[in-house]
Symmetry: C2
Subunit: 184 residues, 2 copies
């Protein structure tokens, strides 16, 4: 589904790929939409679990880089499947399926909270670091997702390893700019 989209993936294909008989699929799930929502939930939980895990291991200042490196480790030539799934379902089903929208919202909220903490670490020394981190977390996530997508579409144009450090640098500059346009 992450590779062919929601409409492009038939129940028969899901059945074959999973080994679960088609009739069983409709025992466990009410509909194809319901299945997609469940799959999306699993995918987002995995995202969150990954971030939580890193959170325990890395000191606040290094945490943003650690997040990025961990996400990176999940990427070969392909976007991690669950990021692909998230985007494709958001674009394809979001406008038509409220359950999907709600799941996306929940995932975004927890992701934002986790990233805000990491960002606060990267904003060390700036006034109001916590508030700025909260404000900028959604921007940071959007940027990172865009860059990962860009990397999948054209791996040569973007150096993900470098971006791992540079995201923090760019965001810090933006935060400094917000706190007052003057440099020390």
């Amino acid at each position: 589904m992450a590779e062919r989209g929601f409409a492009g993936t038939g129940i028969a294909a899901i059945s074959k790929a999973s080994g679960l008989p088609a009739s069983s699929i409709y025992w466990f799930f009410d509909s194809k939409d319901d299945l997609a929502a469940a799959v999306l939930e699993r995918a987002m939980d995995r995202w969150v679990a990954m971030l939580e895990e890193v959170k325990g291991d890395a000191a606040p200042q290094k945490r943003l880089g650690a997040f990025m490196r961990r996400a990176l480790a999940e990427i070969g030539d392909r976007l991690p499947l669950f990021l692909r799934l998230e985007m494709i379902l958001a674009l394809e089903r979001g406008p038509h399926d409220a359950a999907i929208r709600e799941r996306l919202q929940r995932g975004r909220d927890t992701g934002r909270d986790l990233l805000a903490q990491a960002l606060a670490g990267a904003f060390e020394g700036i006034d109001d670091a916590d508030r700025l981190a909260k404000e900028l977390a959604p921007l940071a996530i959007a940027m990172a997702q865009g860059v990962m997508l860009g990397h999948e579409l054209d791996p040569d144009g973007i150096d993900l390893d470098r971006f791992t450090e540079e995201l923090a640098i760019g965001l810090r500059a933006i935060a400094e700019h917000r706190v007052g346009g003057k440099d020390p």
Copy 2:
């Protein structure tokens, strides 16, 4: 198609929405894939035309901001349809359709060149501004696309107007960092 994906949009629906009879669709296009490729091409041409237009109007230093503002003007609550189309086709058909991949590549190349010039303007005063602008253009595009997508999914989390200025600030910080980690 931008709203329901490639597989989610039937020929009949296209026919009804466009007024063009289904049989005529197959007179003008060889297949649904062919149609999608043509539609994508139109969409990307419109992107490029938009950038070219701005290029003539804005001085180099202001050009990045002007690009962003112009793209922004295209957005209401929805991502501009052609950006949505680009992403959805890239994710859904990219892995399976070489013609789509080629079109995406061409669009990216021209987009990168145009943006590199605008970025060079924003990097004024930095050594090697031109080279850095070329290097960072794909990153800038990816960031901007990610942010626009993020805005569509959750309009409250991201302030697009602010991002218009802040993208340049963040990228400039990254460029400065690349040219040598020291600040004056």
